[in-house]
Amino acid sequence: MFRKTLMAAAAVFALGNTAEAATEITWWHAMDGALGGVVDQITADFNASQSDYHLVAVNKGGYEDTMTAGIAAFRAKNQPNIIQIFDAGAATIINAKGAVKPVQDLLEENNVKFDINDYIPGVRYFYADSDGKMIGMPFNSSTPLLYYNKEALAKAGVDVPKTWQEFEEAAPKLKEAGYIALAQSHSPWIFFENFMSRHNLQMATANNGYDSTDVEILYNNEALKDHWQHVKDWKDAGYYGYYGRAWGANQDAFVQQQVAMWIGSSGSFGGLRKSAQFDFGTSTLPYWKGVGDAPKSTFIGGASLFAFSGHSAEEDAGVAAFFQFLTKPETQYYWHKETGYVPITNAAYELAKKDGYYKESPDAEVGIQQLSEEGGDWTKGYRLGFYVQIREVIYREVDKIMNGEETVDAAFNTIEEEANGLLKRFNDTYSN
């Protein structure tokens, strides 16, 4: 108490007469490490660009911690103005009617020009409602990419595999060269959700969940099960490294050059450039030739920014001003360049091209190219409730497949059963 008072007093003295007019808006985000630094820079730039609003960005831990903190704060009527919510949590916040102000309304009310077609195709509808109105502002948009160790591939004399069939040919050679061929960092996101999108397979009934909360999951299909049977076989043959569910542990194996190829996020690019002591390249997410109508574009991953309801018009205007700043081509280009997340507007993409960024580092363009590949009926996105828990179920069953405790069939039956149970609970909770 005492110290708080002291600090508040100090703050008053420090700001004195200058900042008296600025409206403070808060933004809780999940960007830590190198990403957090970029967020802080953007915040500082926004504050320097105008004097009406003062933005305070606070890192609340990981995605899940941030969402938890946001929920607790909202219930306690102490919510921040802006919260970053990740893809899997989108249904929870969008279906809680009235918790957030749709970003499209917010911008239009504050006379910021809004046209959904300014955004690149992959991000347009992921955070929109079933009528196509944009609810959340896409922010850090990523897509799964294959990172490869150039030296390792050269040593084994193989090219980057574009398909899983090609991977199966390359893997034994990489093993001979002393590498585990592949690892990946996020089973539900990479080998479930984006598997469906890449092969244009339907992920859930009711238009992947966009049309209703009364949905069932469609994971228990032959294509996906077959893929996982292969993954398990690769692991047993020493072609696939499984370092558990933790993102970092799998990435570390790549950084330490035990693993020759690693599938992570396009947003990992900036961090890898700092930590990897070797030359690496990026490539698109491999697909099974002949399955579905692959290759199609992947889902957008990452997170978006939501404007919590219950704030004054003045603060909401500040949020709109910040969103406008955030979508400016220059801001997006900076964000893209520093982090590897894709630029979310066409204008920003054009700016990056014009600036010659992709000539100088062609690997940085792979993500946005993958998102700009031809779309299909099932590549728009998904909207599934309690999806955070469904991912937990997937993580758990993947663990069991990998350690041989369960067959692929049994694991997928469990996933289907438990996921549908959760979806039913969600529907019962939110549909009234």
């Binding site: 899940e64 969402m67 938890t68 929920i71 909202f74 219930r75 949590g89 929870t92 916040i93 279906n95 809680a96 009617k97 009235g98 918790a99 499984y242 370092y243 558990g244 569910r245 542990a249 570390d252 194996a253 330490q256 309690f386 955070v388 828990q389 937990e392 179920v393 993580y395 758990r396 069953e397 663990d399 069991k400 990998m402 350690n403 405790e405 469990t414 438990e418 149970g421 609970r425 019962d428 909770t429 939110y430 009234n432």
Partner: protein, 292 residues
């Protein structure tokens, strides 16, 4: 109760008021909320809710992951309690016999009391880190195919080891005090009667320590139930496959990460029932002992 007491109308209320006030605001009210919440289906942001009677309890009790977690919690708690009690009793008996350096040994073995569970969890996590952990490497170099990331038993071993490590000190302190409370005359008589140290322990020392042991058993079970949250959250996070998620950890994961308040509250209420049984047991035992 005291034979002699003050008879005064206002003073006792004055003295007990602060505690009751704090408990009412920060315990009774939230606890009642948790119970009420367990009968609701409510969205995470509290925008809508409906009363569903025992639906949440039915869902929890019929879910495979809850039963699995319940079974793990029981096995985990019993193992942690028994192993840490056994190790510390063994050490305490030896420390009680030692004459030279007795104080140093006591200090070296009791300081662990002050370690925070997440600190213990982080240390354990590092020791077993597959890329650099010494214990992980050691186990594998002895030919175990140790892999706690994928193998449920190995993961359980890791959390049990961390939990035991953190708890040995507390038990040690109690046992050593208990041993030092045994009159020297009794010990000397025992030495004359019985030459074998081992038999002496089982026939004389251990029965005398039985009340302490029993008390510690309850303390340790409570510890394993609740205080290991911090250990699990920074070591295995319940993986692989939820195999090392205790019930308390699951309440947290479902309620916070999963944003399912009704389901998580129902789990809280179930836990509350279990703890009441344990606590009443503990309380009656302590009461009885005082009357001895």
């Amino acid at each position: 109760m005291k034979r002699v007491q003050f008879e005064h109308s206002a003073v006792p209320y004055l003295f007990i008021a602060p505690q009751i006030l704090i408990i009412s605001i920060f315990f009774l009210w939230p606890a009642a909320q948790a119970v009420y919440q367990s009968f609701l289906l409510e969205d995470a942001f509290g925008m809508s809710s409906q009363f569903v009677w025992f639906r949440n309890f039915e869902d929890v009790l019929s879910s495979a992951s809850w039963s699995r977690s319940a079974i793990f919690t029981v096995i985990f708690s019993v193992l942690v309690a028994v192993i840490s009690i056994a190790i510390s009793l063994f050490l305490a008996v030896r420390a009680d016999e030692v004459i030279r350096g007795a104080k140093s040994y006591r200090t070296l073995l009791m300081w662990g009391y002050a370690i925070a569970p997440p600190v213990a969890g982080l240390l354990g996590n590092m020791m077993f880190n597959p890329l650099m952990g010494d214990l992980y490497k050691a186990f594998n170099s002895f030919g175990f195919e140790f892999n706690h990331i994928q193998n449920a038993n190995d993961a359980a071993f890791v959390v049990i080891l961390i939990a035991v490590w953190k708890q040995v000190s507390v038990n040690f302190i109690f046992f050593l005090s208990g041993l030092q409370g045994i009159p020297k005359s009794v010990q000397e008589a025992a030495t004359l009667d019985c030459k074998s140290a081992e038999r002496r322990f089982w026939t004389i020392t251990f029965p005398l320590l039985a009340p302490t042991t029993f008390f510690l058993l309850v303390i340790n079970l409570t510890y394993a139930f609740f205080e290991t949250f911090g250990i699990i959250d920074v070591s295995t996070k319940g993986s692989p496959g939820g195999a090392t998620a205790t019930l308390v950890y699951k309440v947290y994961v479902d309620g916070f990460i999963g944003a399912d308040l009704g389901g998580s509250s129902a789990q809280s209420v179930l836990l509350m029932i279990m703890v009441s049984v344990l606590t009443v047991f503990q309380f009656r035992f302590i009461e009885r002992k005082v009357h001895y």
